[in-house]
């Protein structure tokens, strides 16, 4: 696998996601905004990055880092000023799929901010998350019976043994 090949779909996804996220932020900020949106530029410090052989792609407005053993990439966008303050979003892409969205920096000053944080960001994350890709160590849910356990995500984690 060459980093170039891998990075192309990643970059598409990053840009598409950035477009979605920035559209989302624009929607919230309710103001026409020049098309910058959230430019994905800076790299997130990779959790447990052990990869030495993937030079970051140069040029353009997109770069990525965070190649982990499970093949996921984490990219942090530039901070964008909205009417209510800076917003910065981090996304995780795994096997070519957007698997997580996190707001790294977001406004917390006023009630409207709290509303955004309480409703919009969790909703955005929720859409992106699936158990197969989220690199979780356990699952919390409504109490299962012994029989229910067999079909549960926790059972899959226990037997996967990673």
């Amino acid at each position: 696998m060459h980093s170039l090949k891998k990075n192309r779909p990643l970059r598409r996804i990053v840009l598409a996601s950035a477009a979605t996220v920035s559209g989302f932020v624009l929607l919230l900020s309710l103001k026409p905004h020049s098309s910058e949106g959230i430019a994905v530029g800076s790299s997130a410090p990779a959790p447990a990055s052990t990869s030495a052989a993937s030079p970051a792609p140069s040029g353009g407005s997109s770069s990525s880092s965070g190649s982990s053993s499970s093949g996921s990439k984490t990219v942090t966008g530039d901070s964008v000023d909205t009417r209510w303050g800076p917003v910065q979003v981090r996304i995780t892409v795994k096997s070519g799929k957007l698997t997580d969205v996190t707001a790294v920096v977001y406004p917390t000053e006023n009630p409207r901010d709290q509303e955004i944080n309480a409703y919009a960001i969790p909703e955005l994350r929720r859409e992106a998350l699936s158990a197969q890709s989220a690199d979780i160590t356990s699952v919390s849910g409504a109490t299962y019976t012994s029989d229910g356990y067999k079909q549960s995500l926790q059972s899959a984690l226990d037997s996967a043994g990673f």
Partner: protein, 261 residues
Amino acid sequence: MAAQETPAVVRHAEEVMGTVFSFDVRGGEGAVVRAALTEAVASLHRVNEVFSTYRENSQVSRLARGELTVAECDPEVAEVLDLAAEAERVSDGWFSARYQGRTDPTGIVKGWAAERAARLIAAAGVHGVSVNGGGDVQMIGAPEPLRPWRVGVSDPLRPGGLAAVVSSAGADELAVATSGTAERGAHIVDPRTGKSAVTDLVSVTVIGPRLTFVDCWATAAFAMGSRAGLDWLESLPGVEGLLITAGDEVRCTGGLASRLG
């Protein structure tokens, strides 16, 4: 490879209390960890024997019938009833250790037992331990240096999907408990009416340091409904909540974002 610092992993799943407890233990000395795990598993079966309301002769069944006093029961019974009384007080009666007029600490026992099992294993000198008691998780320490525990919160309206991922980063002890109707239907009783709770929620997840209490808070908030439940969780120090309504909306406390990973 940076494999030298990865602690050894011991996993175990144990069927007890009508559900399955999943253990995930990282690091520590092999024989010591296995001994602690064996003891923790035995403690769960003992708790089941003492506290089960399905067993006619359990201490709690006999206590409820007035055949035993609290003082005649194992000391754990008094401990759990004290904790239940505290939960009832803090939740203004929305959590209750009584059912149909009888002593019934079932709602607190499982979380308490899972927390106790996790502490027992942590005391064996491990790097980290996670105990999942049927969907409610107590974590202590971390799975690896610089790597937190990550708990997926299952999305009741999207089978196989997650509503959020909670990270233990920055917390030496963290617990995540979820109450909802997804697995066993309506089973949460409104202590004021004695009937199934009328709520606009399908699930409540509560995050805090101790599973014993976050489990109770999830039950209480579920019975309160989204508006009162969210306000109440917001008022509890060191506690965050994520609520999913029957209308497929997600609500959460203001500080939840700092716990999401």
